[in-house]
Symmetry: D2
Subunit: 225 residues, 4 copies
């Protein structure tokens, strides 16, 4: 469904990427994809999900889903609602929105039936292996202490990424591995790929950049060789 | 900001009111408002919030907000995002998505600064009084045991509504009271108004109806006299 | 049931007041009570509750209770278990363990039937009023930003305590008010009493003191006049 | 540390096994151990943990631990408090008290340093594998739909137990597997052992029995051959 490698941009709850700006940022990501062919996914805020999914052709992800069925579940985000909004899949278990393992299990199994793509975040190699046991499409290892620092995990803690890749290989080799935390430049992306990942998950490195187009293009460059 | 009385339709996480159907239902509610002048608010799923707010002129509410600031809060719904999406306000503390009193306090105070309207749900007269102490625009008393039953609180348990109205009068008379749970017909709405409320909060009574237009028009009728 | 004023010592999850040391600290509090007649309550960790309640005659409180009935509720703390362990009551909604308003409502109503005393914490005057609407025995206003600082709320932010006392007087004058955060000395206690409270809630001011007996005796002194 | 096989009795939040009765039940379990040499663990309610651990020599477990450090964590249960109370270890992630995978990871790693034994519950073979990736001492597979039914998982759904054993063998063969849900008799225990587990986790099968001694002795019998 997804053509790898992938750059996945998490809009978080930043006001810089909220409402109209969410659409603007998604369109710039789409532009880079059109110019380079590199897969760029976007994960806007939940309130913007439907609007963004209407406006772009690149893969749009929810940032979170709740482990509930459609029905009497006011204020919750079902996988069905994510699908109906036009998104291709969802992130799960981000360090800022952890859920329980049984909920990840429920959501991954259900997403598969709904043809939704799942990206499950983790914080240590052991938790990465645990999440890979649940067979999502991708796991994304992000040491929380590096998130938002600009210190790239792929260079500062390569052993965490390597160990994650190795454990996933053992537990379930069909699961793809992303890494995140501190990713800002194309060099960081290249380092991530060299460690055995299929791409990166990042947020402030793009959202907080003065020039979104240049920031994304810089990330994509090493993937063009 | 709001012209009372109000009929507030909660789309919950029903698939019948998700995605494109959310826009469809909101437009029918808008049609009834245009024809009758009675305020009808809609609370679509979070993933549909931006899309619905773009499409209609009636008041659009979020079903829930998280007590967090914009920023590194992946998967959370800030009041700012709700505003940026074009909504007029938010429901809080619905029985299916309770939050803590300190979070209601945080959100109500912040919503006031952002000019967002707050509707805080409660389950007993005492909790209604507690929520009114936090000075939201509206409280909505909904005995959970009647939600989704079709047995209207305004007729089956009028004393719960009356006690809520009386306690709110004492604690903070500026707070408006809605009631909900089991509301389906115009008679239920009339009974609610007669108990001292400014309107009703309902979900399945409209969403699960075969003919949305007739269902909403039926609710509005006693308010036209 | 309780003779006011009261000094309530929260053992938190400090290791200095865990296991055998919990019993030791409770016995010293009991000694000061025997010598002075001033009510001193202790709230040991949940794992020590039964042991401490066996060993002392002063009021023993749980630090938290869950809003569940006895039965299939592994890992939860019921009010019945608190009673069976020999405690006199429980703290609820501490800033480090907030629960929802409907849960406070459930627990306060049930505690009354079980003859258990409830102390509900709050963080702002508005939340204090909200909690008082639920009619616990005591509310304890504690601005979180002062907790553990040694800067006493009763001297640094007297207006928060005064406003809380005033709002509780309006909402439900039968509810007693405690204050907490930064309380260390008898002067802080005296200031609290002068603001209209019936006592204080404190933790590190006693638990982290080198000499527990002197620390507690110092707090009690102004109450002996 | 533990001699296998093991029968682990979860007292849940049943009032039948609360306070003084917790000690009584633990002493009967201890009696059966003395008479048969079969390891019987008990997991009393948190409020009874210290009292029970003082009174018996058999392994005492907490039902739950929170992923927090000792300190300002009112109402939470630290591993240190569990150790100070005299328990040998803790259950984690019971179906009635699920926690997140990163919290299980944190707690298992820390328990190892504190020499505490961990039993992590799960609901499906996939989640069992995920929990085994985190290297606790034991995992306990319990399909929630059978808990409390008296329909033993070891006979009604042997494939769930078998698949769990097989996946754990692949992911981390050092982790022992228990099974639970519906276990009542020695036959159920025997079936569990034959499926490759080292024992069972049960609650109502013992706690709700009229004669605790006979109920436990019946469970132990097949292990005496």
């Amino acid at each position: 469904m997804i053509k790898y490698p992938i750059i996945l941009i998490n809009f978080k709850a930043y006001r810089e990427s909220s409402g109209k700006k969410a659409v603007e940022l998604a369109k710039i990501a789409e532009k880079v994809w059109k110019e380079t062919g590199v897969t760029i996914g976007v994960a806007p805020q939940l309130t913007d999900l439907g609007v963004v999914a209407r406006e772009v052709e690149i893969p749009v992800f929810a940032q979170h889903a709740d482990a509930v069925e459609p029905g009497s579940a006011t204020g919750h985000v079902t996988l069905e609602a994510i699908k109906d909004a036009g998104a291709i899949g969802t992130m799960l278990n981000h360090s800022e929105r952890r859920i329980r393992a049984d909920q990840v299990d429920f959501l991954v199994k259900k997403a598969r039936k709904l043809n939704l793509v799942t990206v499950v975040c983790s914080n240590t190699p052991e938790v990465t292996a645990a999440m890979a046991s649940l067979s999502p499409d991708m796991v994304a290892i992000e040491p929380p202490e590096l998130i938002g620092t600009g210190i790239p995990v792929s260079k500062a803690k390569p052993e965490i990424v390597l160990n994650s890749v190795k454990l996933v290989e053992k537990v379930n080799p069909e699961v793809k591995v992303l890494c995140g935390a501190g990713i800002t430049t194309g060099d960081d992306v290249e380092a991530a790929i060299n460690l055995g990942t299929v791409g990166v998950l990042l947020a402030s490195g793009v959202v907080k950049a003065k020039d979104w187009y240049s920031a994304i293009m810089n990330l994509v460059k090493p993937l063009l060789k």
